[in-house]
Amino acid sequence: MNKKHYLLSLLLLGAIVISACATATPEVVEEVAVVDPTACNVDPPDAPVEINVIGWSFEIMNFYAEEMEKCSEVENLEVNVQLQDFVATREAFNLAMTGGDESPFDIMHVSNPELNEFGNNGWLLPLNDLIDKYRDEYDLDDIADVSWDGATIDGVIYGIPATANTLHLAYRSDLLEEYGLEVPTTYDEIIEMCGVLADAPGIDLPFTMDVSAGWAWEIEFLAFIRSFGSDYLNADSTVAFNGPEGVAAATKMKEVVDACMPPAGLQSYYEETEVNINTGTQAMVHIWASNTVSMFDPEQSDFADVIKFAPAAAPKPGGLLGGSAWHDFYTIPATTPTDTDLIFRILMESLDRTSMLGAADLGIVTRSSIDKGLPNLAAASETIANGVGIYDPNPATSLAQAALWNWLPFIGTGEMTPQEALDAAAEEYTAEAIAQGYLP
């Protein structure tokens, strides 16, 4: 290589360094410019503090996460948000809670089953004192009682309710009008409606509820058995779900499946039925409020103008509505090494009234004073208020759920009667509950 080549190489290197510096500066300026420094009203800590947040990703929770990230603009404060899919998040929880003396996370997004499990395991920080301290500042009484109920185990509050969800009805109003049908309020009326719509042109499925997997069956079964006046377990953790009410509830589910969901309906899951409704091959669906956003959007739905929403039907006439009061919460791990007062304020900054007003366009918020929202808000709110509530916080409930996942689907295929399937699940639950010390 001669001198000319060396010179050229040096020039090239210099040009790369200069161009790298030249492009780096505007990016930094741009990043600083987009952050709103007034959004997070937390006092700066004396020394640098890092807050690690973990959760899984969906629209409204992503919004809250962005609100939390704004606290990074406070001096000495850095908020790192890690959003993954649910399974990965759940795995990270287990590793974090069982792996060491200090939690690597300071704020964890959980839903009802995790809150019950982690709260019962002593993994979550009781928040009663902090709630009392900041009750007025963040107007915490504005959050609905039904939402607090899901966050509470034996009077101890473990989470701040961020968003609510439930199963309600979405239906094609034009079809119901055409066939002279009223919006059903009970499952008996749904069964009648299915008989009328069975031969409607273009309609493959008059109605579905998701029974495409064991866990999906179990979610619906909770709504049915509670409406029939029973529950999974008795207070002493013995089985209640295979009693007369449980069998009646499972039998009613089977009647719905047989009347409304020909074999193809057994494999329809929420996302698929969402497509069915939007493309006009299905008349009605019992679906999560969070799965309906596409139905309001004319670009995604061919029937956006005629799809309407109604509260969940009652499995038992006169009983509770067949939708749960599902919630997502922010919690603080009991073993966090960080100042819990500071953590609480950061998470409340993302759940204050201003934030929730913004979040109301993305899902169901938990503050009663906010009445704006998506078109299905009224139907969802009524279902949450008059529905079946949420799982019993008894730690053995998750074992009952696991057993029901394994047996309920056989009712749908006709391989087992409701009584046989529930007895098999009861036997499985009892054996495992004894092994795990929940039963003597």
Partner: protein
């Protein structure tokens, strides 16, 4: 070679094996001998062999084992045939088309397994392309039943496992001596005879290697079964890994799940022994 020299040479790989295989396996054996759930993770209770006995007495474990064996018996030969034929065809192509076809054949290996499986399942749903086609052919919707689900699992497993075997065969084909092939042509051998008497004997060790790797892989089959079945018990399609997943994640019996994992390792070794003996003989004969 002196024993000391041998250990000096193999020390790095021995260390890696101990760190990544022996220690985790040892931990699994120890955890399998304890009663542990997530709630009692830091206070395990020693229960001896009771977790192992519980797993062995569980009919669901043996059902999962039988289905895993069926997958191995069907997919190991099937994917080897698919991969070998694919490699032979690819070997006939030269220039840039070879790179194009090779890249196309590797797609199942490149696509993220879960995403690939989701797309594969959606193909057969009522809103999917094949679902629509089968509806037109069958006159009714394609249904996920125990039989159809098991067939889909087998097809999908062949699809995801063939590319790796294909790459190995394709590399092996590059080492076939052209003089032998030319000489056989002069002697009047056709392509089939060349494959049978020259290529296959030459690649015998690779057939065994592919089979061994596949057996180990299929004992660990999880992603595609999880996504395709959505863990619905009506398909009776639990593999050993989905069974262990249920045990660890839904029933939360970590000790029992670890005991099941250790038993799975033992079962893999039992199934692999004949293959390993064959491979050892193959290598010894070559020397």
């Amino acid at each position: 070679m002196k024993l000391k020299t041998f250990f000096q040479f193999t020390a790095p790989s021995n260390l890696v094996m101990v760190a990544l295989m022996i220690i985790p396996l040892g931990l699994a054996i120890v955890m399998g001998a304890n009663y542990i759930t997530y709630a009692t993770f830091k206070e395990p209770v020693f229960v001896g062999l009771s977790n192992y006995m519980e797993v062995l007495a569980d009919p669901a474990f043996w059902t999962a084992f039988r289905w895993t064996l069926v997958i191995i018996v069907v997919v190991v030969p099937a994917h080897i045939i698919v991969a070998f034929v694919g490699a032979l065809l690819l070997d006939q192509v030269t220039g840039w088309p070879r790179a194009f076809y090779l890249a196309a054949m590797l797609i199942p290996m490149i696509v993220v397994p879960v995403i690939g499986t989701v797309v594969f399942r959606q193909l057969f749903e009522p809103t999917g392309l094949l679902g629509w086609f089968l509806r037109a052919v069958l006159g009714g919707p394609f249904l996920f039943t125990e039989t159809s689900m098991k067939v889909l699992i087998l097809i999908h497993t062949i699809w995801i496992s063939s590319p790796f075997a294909l790459v190995i065969f394709f590399a092996g084909l590059q080492t076939v001596k052209q003089e032998l092939v030319d000489a056989s042509s002069i002697d009047g051998a056709n392509r089939i005879q060349q494959i049978r008497h020259i290529v296959i004997p030459h690649l015998r060790a690779l057939f065994l290697l592919n089979a061994i790797i596949a057996v180990m892989d299929f004992f660990r089959l999880f992603d595609n079964v999880f996504v395709l079945t959505r863990m619905n018990p009506i398909f009776h399609s639990d593999t050993l890994q989905t069974y262990l997943f249920r045990m660890a994640m839904t029933v939360k019996r970590l000790g029992k799940a670890n005991a099941g994992a250790v038993l799975t390792v033992l079962l893999i070794m039992v199934v692999l022994i004949p293959f390993l003996i064959l491979l050892y003989r193959e290598q010894t004969e070559e020397r």
